[in-house]
């Protein structure tokens, strides 16, 4: 591969600037490659930085190192096989991606999901949000030199994964849910694990906050680093915690509620200056709010079916396929793709770990999408990175990148 070193076009662009500066005052600029594989970038991104000593004068990102052409693959797969592609976008919070995709389909097919399934989805999505933010914030602490906090909370991500395991058998790429609801109810062990998590998590997380949030070194590294104004953040297409840190209370769960979010009480934390410390604080508070939502959902969890009555889209139980004629027919039709779907275009978005995760689906009535576009929040806001690090120090760039929570899988799709 030719671009392990800086791509030629970027080298040429910077060569002129280096020459010019050398002629002006004799000082020497240098080009630094941060990435593609670098322990501080948490994923495969390359940043070509033009440096004057420790200071960054200009930067350019090259992305696409794990591009897997999901949108192309999706055009060749039946709807239910696309779910496994969505897992692999933001792999820190795969259930949100999964349910976002099912909800898009449910919108297209006009399927009403029963309350119990909606509440369970909310619980799982909020657990996913907790694990996503937990990783982002604890890794941010690691990047500023505080390793202990990370170790305190890491086991709680593990416990969230164990709850996923109880539902779907997988930990990271969950493939949860089906059209119309969930593939199975959370087991008794699952509920026990969930209750135990709810009991233990606040203690550990408070400890983490006590250790990191007001830590002198951490604050020195984060306060007033990588700030962005609300106007600029909106123009750059920021959504999610990064936008809320800049002071805009835009949250899809409030703006376009889905999956019964309107039934729950929760607050939207906002920051002020949009700097790294605000992003950290907003994520921390969102973890508490997610915790609050899970508590309410658990308390109010209704009984009832866990999937809608849509036999033409929801696979029948396997034992029925062998004994009942109807189940056999539906099973065959679903697997062989003989069920027509409505024609039309639908856009659905959910509040992902990083912001507005959108699915734009163009259906021509066949079993595969005519076009499926993923609106990946990371991809859209990562272009602001150059602006945010320009003029700063190299060590600040690392912290800013970490606090933006750029996930390579989502960035490159």
């Amino acid at each position: 591969m030719s671009n392990i070193i800086a791509p030629i076009s970027i080298q040429d662009k910077y060569a002129d600037m280096i020459r010019q500066r050398e002629n002006e005052d004799g000082s020497e600029l240098s080009i630094l490659n941060l990435g593609p594989t670098h322990p501080a970038t948490h994923g495969i991104f390359q940043n070509v930085l033009l440096m004057d000593g420790e200071r960054i004068l200009d930067a350019e990102q090259t992305v696409g190192y794990i591009h897997r052409a999901f949108e192309k693959i999706a055009e060749n797969r039946p709807f239910y096989q696309i779910n496994v592609l969505t897992d692999r976008m933001n792999y820190c919070s795969s259930p949100i991606n999964n349910f976002g995709w099912w909800m898009t389909l449910e919108k297209l097919l006009s399927v009403e999901v029963p309350k119990r399934a909606q509440y369970l989805r909310v619980i799982l999505m909020e657990l996913a949000r907790i694990s996503d933010h937990l990783i982002c914030n604890s890794i941010l602490a690691v990047d500023t030199g505080a390793f202990t906090g990370f170790l305190y909370v890491m086991q709680y991500r593990e416990r969230i994964y164990e709850i996923y395991e109880e539902l779907c058998g997988a930990r990271l790429t969950t493939n949860m849910g089906r059209i119309g609801g969930l593939e199975r109810d959370l087991s008794d062990t699952g509920f026990r694990k969930l209750r135990a998590f709810m009991k233990d998590f606040p203690v550990a997380f408070k400890e983490f906050e006590a250790l990191v949030s007001r830590n002198r070194i951490f604050m020195d590294r984060c306060v007033n680093v990588g700030g962005i104004s609300a106007d600029k953040a909106i123009s750059y297409g920021f959504t999610g915690p990064n936008l809320r840190a800049a002071g805009v209370d835009y949250d899809i769960r409030i703006v376009n509620p889905y999956s019964s979010y309107e039934d729950f009480q929760f607050d939207i934390p906002v920051g002020k200056s949009g700097d790294t410390y605000d992003r950290y604080c907003v994520r921390n508070e969102e973890i508490w709010q997610s915790y609050r939502i899970i508590q309410q959902a658990l308390d109010k969890l209704p009984d009832g079916p866990i999937h809608a009555d849509v036999p033409e889209f929801y696979l029948p139980p396997k034992e029925q396929v062998y004994t009942s004629m109807e189940a056999l027919i539906y099973h065959f039709k679903i697997v062989m793709g003989e069920i027509p779907v409505p024609k039309g275009e639908v856009y659905h978005c959910v509040e992902g770990g990083n912001g507005e995760l959108g699915f734009y689906l163009v259906s021509d009535g066949s079993r595969v999408p005519y076009r499926l576009h993923f609106r990946r929040p990371c991809f859209i806001y990562y272009q602001a990175f150059t602006d945010m690090i320009k003029g700063g120090l190299l060590s600040d760039a690392i912290v800013i990148m970490s606090s933006l929570n750029v996930i390579a899988g989502e960035l490159d799709a």
Binding site: E71, K232, S235, F379, I380
Partner: protein
Amino acid sequence: MTNEQIQEQLLAKFGDNISAFKDEFGMMSFEVSRDFNTEALHFLRDELGFNFLTDVCGIHYPDMETERQFAVVYHLHNWVENVRIRFKSFLNGENPEIETASKLYLSANWQERETYDFYGIVFTGHPDLKRILNMDEMVSFPLRKEFPLEDGSRTDKDDRYFGRIPVNANSN
């Protein structure tokens, strides 16, 4: 602000250049002729309050007539009134070209690069129009319908099955 009001104002401003209004799954969508996409975006942003460009992407319709073989799709969101709309601009199949929106919304920059990368749609006036997710040496546009997906039944790892050679990459 209702969809009817938006439609009225747009028709009063652009007349025949805006057409095909319809409501799909709660979102209004319409078509804007190719030459007026930035003017429409400008009007929508400054007069009608659509402050947020949610998404830009392309679609390929190889079976349509030449004038309508590509479409660029814009999703916009008005945060004050909480209204979402979508509009498409159809482009010529041989020479897909449209004006860039990156001067109005900074977020359009990479999204248009992605659209160029996938479909070869040229955004005139774009500050840095080059491939973003695929390698620079690639010469074809992978999300066009004629571009084949990897053959699922292949038994080896020949580059031809990935569509890389002989026509897909510059030899130097």
